[in-house]
């Protein structure tokens, strides 16, 4: 209708140039929600980070004081360091296991879908329940299930204090984390494997390529974009880890397994230093944004070349 009137050379009034007003009515709820509860707080997060902002009482402007303080705060550095270490360890492990499970289950064998469901099932579980279960598995006493099994098998002499000592605390959470999250990446891989044209494999088979060569020459290259995606999803997920550690180690021993999200939570909602917490979460937001952009760039470059 609009295009017709402009074609006739009639000047359109501003209102009709905006198009169908129904569009704005339908968009209104999501726009209001995102503006009020996402974009405004994101900006306010930076504003608050410039203040000494207690829960009760008046905020005091301190400029970049919170950021300066963060740089000198050993506890915060420890949390960043641990978060980085946790991410660097669990991401490749998770991606590798996800790929293996995807390969084990993307074939036409009878009943294979059953296994796929089993590997995916933990992802629908709440982290709290998973934490309760695994915390019990990793009981530190002699009667802890894993300790008992290892001791009976003669692998260890005495009980390991799984959740209370390093590096066992980290290892315990890694085991739980992989069980809990691997299904997500696995499904992404299965989706990608499924979309590889069957003709490629048929042609390769006719040329006499072995299954291994078909895997390295067809499957892996075709999965490259998926690797990028899975890495981004896993890295963001592990940077956001918090309930996993709250349930399993409670950040211990001595703060050694405290990820940055847990530190932000403690600073903001236990010590009620909201300005300081805001500064930390603002930095976290920037770090994640940079990581995401870098990773997407990397995976895109590789597919392009």
């Amino acid at each position: 209708m609009d295009t017709a009137s402009s074609r006739d050379g009639v000047r359109r009034p501003i209102l009709s140039r905006l198009g169908n007003p129904a569009g704005y009515f339908l968009m209104a709820p999501i726009v209001i929600l995102l503006a009020g509860f996402f974009y405004y707080p994101a900006l306010r997060s930076f504003y608050m980070s410039l203040f000494d902002w207690p829960l009760i009482g008046n905020p005091r402007f301190i400029g970049l004081g919170n950021y300066v303080r963060m740089f000198g705060d050993k506890v915060i550095w420890q949390a960043w360091g641990f978060t980085a270490m946790w991410t660097v360890i669990i991401t490749p492990l998770c991606v590798l296991l996800a790929l293996l499970l995807a390969l084990l289950t993307s074939n036409s064998l009878r009943g294979i879908a059953f296994f796929r469901s089993i590997y995916f099932m933990p992802t629908v579980l709440t982290t709290v329940a998973a934490g309760l279960i695994w915390k019990w598995f990793f009981g530190s006493q002699r009667d802890g299930l894993i300790n008992y099994v290892l001791e009976s098998a003669g692998i260890i002499d005495g009980p390991i204090g799984w959740l209370g000592t390093m590096p066992w605390a980290l290892i315990s959470v890694i085991v739980m984390g992989m069980w809990l999250w691997v299904g997500l990446s696995m499904v992404l891989f299965i989706g990608a494997i499924q979309s590889i044209p069957v003709e490629l494999y048929e042609a390769a088979a006719i040329d006499g390529a072995s299954p291994w060569r078909r895997f390295t020459l067809i499957t892996l290259p075709m999965l490259r974009p998926t690797f990028g995606l899975v890495f981004v999803v896993s890295v963001i997920g592990s940077f956001m880890s918090f309930p996993e550690f709250l349930m399993m180690t409670n950040g211990g021993p001595g703060g050694q397994t405290t990820p940055i999200m847990m530190r932000i939570y403690n600073v903001s909602f236990k010590s009620y230093k909201l300005g300081y917490g805001a500064a930390m979460s603002f930095v976290l937001m920037l770090v994640l944004l940079i990581l995401t952009i870098v990773q997407l760039r990397l995976s895109r470059d590789r597919t392009a070349s």
Binding site: R17, I30, Y39, L132
Partner: protein, 295 residues
């Protein structure tokens, strides 16, 4: 929509061998790994059915016959049904969020796919842009905003925030689904005198039922399981959701040294979602796939 269903076989992969021996290896590996993956579920259930007397034994007891449902009874009746209260809050929050997400993202998805208006592309970018920033990084300002709105300790705050978290992705899902519906369908409905709202509810949504199911299920189970936001915005133990209530009861609370009670709590927290999953597997997965491959 690319749909990968867990319950239909995929035709291609590395391990597609004609040899029977190869198939056996694949099965053997799968059985081994699946057993490991199932173990935590099974043991959680068997521990929850242990009688109190079997708790502190050496070697540890993991199974007892006959099953003792005492832990469930006790959990459901503790403090005049405190746990039932958690279940109720979680169900109400997850149900309301699912409905609200369908409304908000269905409307936006329809506008973005079928209606022409100025700034449509910009709106789309702003909505997708939120997916780049993890929501947890804006929680601190949100806490002071919710305090001013007097919504802290009110489940309404969770419904609002979960909708904010989930609506962008679900808008994207609906938009893709509605885009697949031919424009002519909408236009003939408009010619017949329907308004845009009626087109959305009576024409578009019935033609996009898989998307509707995906959004409803995704939204419900994400809200049911969510931890961090609930921890911050529902600090009052009496009105909180299952995950937070479970932490309160088990880690510092009175069931700290009662694995059977802890496991009973875990089982009750996952049972509704597990049933949903076993019934509607393909919708759990289709959400993840369509969100990622086109994102």
């Amino acid at each position: 929509m690319t749909s990968v269903a867990l319950d239909t076989p995929v035709r291609m992969g590395l391990l597609r061998w004609r040899l029977h021996g190869g198939d056996l290896i694949v099965y053997a590996l799968n059985i081994l790994v699946a057993a490991l993956f199932l173990l935590p579920w099974i043991i959680a259930i068997t521990i929850s059915l242990l009688p109190e007397t079997a708790l502190k034994t050496y070697p540890p007891t993991i199974f007892a016959w006959p099953p003792d449902f005492g832990s469930y009874v006790r959990l459901l009746t503790v403090d005049d049904g405190r746990f039932l209260g958690y279940l109720r809050t979680s169900a109400v929050v997850a149900g309301c969020t699912a409905i609200s997400v369908v409304l908000v993202s269905g409307m936006a998805g329809y506008a973005l796919s079928k209606i022409r208006f100025a700034g449509r592309e910009l709106f789309f970018v702003l909505i997708l842009g939120t997916l780049m920033f993890p929501f947890t990084t804006v929680l601190i300002p949100l806490f002071s905003i919710m305090s001013q709105l007097k919504l802290v300790n009110n489940p309404v705050s969770l419904v609002i925030l979960y909708t904010v978290v989930q609506a962008p992705f679900c808008t994207f899902l609906f938009r893709n689904s509605f885009s697949a519906v031919p424009d002519a369908v909408r236009e003939s409905a408009l010619v017949d005198g329907a308004n845009e709202w009626q087109v959305l509810v009576r024409v578009m949504i019935p033609l996009a039922l898989p998307a509707l199911a995906t959004v409803l299920i995704y939204s419900f189970y994400q809200s049911w399981n969510e931890f961090t936001i609930a921890l911050i915005f529902l600090t009052d133990d009496q009105t909180t959701t299952v995950p937070i209530g479970l932490v309160n009861l088990t880690t510092s609370g009175r069931f700290a040294s009662h694995p059977n009670m802890q496991m009973a709590g875990a089982v009750m927290s996952f049972l509704p979602i597990l049933v949903l999953f076993l019934l509607f597997q393909r919708f759990f997965v289709s959400g993840i796939i369509s969100g990622s491959t086109k994102g």
